[in-house]
Amino acid sequence: MLAIQMRGITKRFGPVLANDRIDFSLEQGEIHALLGENGAGKTTLMRILYGLYHADQGEILVDGHLAHIPSPKEAITLGIGMVAQHFTLVPPLSVAENVVLGYTKGLRFDPGAAQQHVAEAAARFGIKTDPAAIVRHLSVGECQRVEILKALYRNVRALIMDEPTSVLVPQEVDVLFETLERLRGAGLSVIFISHKLNEVMAVCDRITVLRQGRVVGTVDKAATSQIELACMMVGRETFGVTRRGESPQGEARLRLESLSALDRKGLPALKEVSLEVRAGEILGLAGVSGNGQAELARVLAGTLKPTGGRILVDNRDLTGADPTCFLVAGVGRIPEERHESMIGELSVAENLVLECLDEFTRNGLLDRRRVRQHGEQLIAEYQIKAQPTDRMRTLSGGNVQKVVLARALSSKPRVILASQPTRGLDVGATEYVRDKLLEQRDQGVAVLLISEDLDEALALSDRIAVIYEGRIMGVIPAGEASKEQLGMMMSGAWEVTRGETEN
């Protein structure tokens, strides 16, 4: 008997067809992977199943009965739970309070009893947690276990996990997989959303592959291979852009010396990071997300003050300087959150001059004609589909990223800091961005590429540094790096000792 069946699900967001007549079925007691690239429609489909979105067309059957799921509440009643990528926990509340929240009856709330119930539920499923702990103090892996417990406590029989490993370190991934297998043993079903082939092969029974909003196929793990899955997923040769030869090694443009910084919670995020990026090279910084990359990017943008160490650009000390100083020193930045670096309600032209306002100002007055010309010129040069007077928020993701690139590159930077520059972009925009970065490298710019996509880092970089828990595990030439070696470094299992690294 099928636990869940989704038939002909279609969902549009404006002009974008996110799900196109998708059929999907989940059997009881299986771990079923939903595999696909970013933007393939995996999360949208599951949000429909969980009642967060509503399908334009199609129907959902749970245990053979037609189900109407207007909100997560109904999904939970039907036995469907979801652990989202961004945890939905209330930090100042305890684990027990978070677990029982929204699933309590009557008037009284008894903290002691709640803790006991939660402890019992945790023991039943073999999940390690302290019900009295305050969620604010937990690690990412522990928070994820609280999320799973939350769903189990509500008696769900099918658990949707949205990219659960993207925030975990390898050891925590192992714990997660053990937990999932234990749940399967208890007769529960799991939908495992992922774009990582090895994980899917490691833990899942069946795999449904999505591409551009459509189902490519559903296969048994026993009858498939990573290579077949990869072909189904991308439907094209994996990679188009390649580096064009070795460029001559120039002088060190960007040098970080024992740089340390704290994250938003006040915990050490960067620990004595030392790196140098030379003119004419791309240095890739690989690592699992959340290991200090975001803080490094913020420090190098001037929006986070380091607590120790030095930042040198062309031998100029920029430690603790504000964003303007970094801009003046010739640091061009492509931020991780492109929407947060652009102001939606200002025009494209205004956004394009924001980093160099002084050049367009005379006696405090804005030279509006030149602002407009500047906008027109960059729009043409970077093939941005917009008018200079268009509000930024009306642009598509790919065009926003082109505006970001145009702004960063138009000031002829000497160092480029690119954080996740292709995340969430379609194939065309991705290749455009990668081409532009390589073009800058060939022109002798020093590029620091922070990427969580190991393939991207390997394909674009001249050298690769690996960051783990805020420390640099080593720097190796991209030509000599193997995925296995990098993987071990990314999980903190192996550190290249100094001296071995630099040539």
């Binding site: 933007g39 943008a301 947060e340 102001i343 993701g397």
Partner: protein, 371 residues
Amino acid sequence: MAKLRIERAAAPLWVRPLIPVIAAVITLALTATLVVLAKANPFEAYYYFLVVPLSSWVSAIEVLVKSTPLLLTGAAVTFAFSAGYWNIGAEGQLYAGAIAAAWLGTVLHEAPALVAIPIMLLGGFVAGMLWALPPALLKVKLAVDEVVTTLLLNSVILFVVSYLLNGPWRDPVSGWPQSPEIAASAILPKLLPRARLHLGFIVGLLIILALWFVLSRTSLGLKMRATGLGMEAARYAGVNVGRAILTAALISGGIAGIAGVSEIAGIHFHLIDAISPGYGYTGIIIAMLGGLNPFGVGLAALFVGLLSIGGQTVSRALGVPAYLGDVVQAALLLVTLGAFIFQNYRIRWIADEPRSLPPLPASAENDLETN
């Protein structure tokens, strides 16, 4: 079966200019209940409320007199809000300007008007700025929320005024709690014979013009707007957001201070504790009604001025309490704010649909990308 469907998308362009009009009609319909309660005919009442004040020179000029402080406080609030600084303290800053004017007006009795009046205006500006300084500094340096601090300082300055009027500044002749009258040379000149309209009105118009110029034509204005519309992005792009907020907050306070000078030197000529019936708070209504657009703010100030005079007219003619004007102002603000939300929605007829769909969550577009 066809259904009405509301979805989250930009409303058609022609709807936008209609929103304020629709809001005004809804407001008047709602407040008609009050008119009926006062045993008056709503149509007759609205005639006295909105038309009669403009049908004679005397009362039309009174509308401008009433609008004078509102132009200034509206501009003050707009300046701060544009930079994302929620200055709720225009009321207090107005009183700071009034205190300065009452003091300077008595000190400057030997100066000619050409000297005294600019000093008065400047003094009020500085006083308003100083009163706006502590919350602005706390905001910029210590990230203390400005809504609460500016609000609390409004109460504090009322105690200062009360202290001055009951203590050192109490009128020695009459013994009333009011400060001595300011010198004749410090009084803002009348614009028309036999009417109360004074130079403050021109100052108000000039400041609205300056507000427009700064916000749309200068790099300072762009920095402020960038800060107000996206502080993190502005900071990232190298805008010194702290300085932008501080500047906006201080200029805002200064303009509100000038409103205080205008009331003292144009209308009352001495400090009393009821200089402002809440002009600072009304400034917030005006800034929002005007959509933070300088010319919209100017129009909104004139309209709210009309509502105040209209309230008095309808009170005299029909016995409907003059507070009708206050109620209509506040109701108009709330209805307009509610109505503007709908410019982000579009209503469509759709044919045969399995079930009606709620509007798309705002985050949906992002989800598509981070999927």
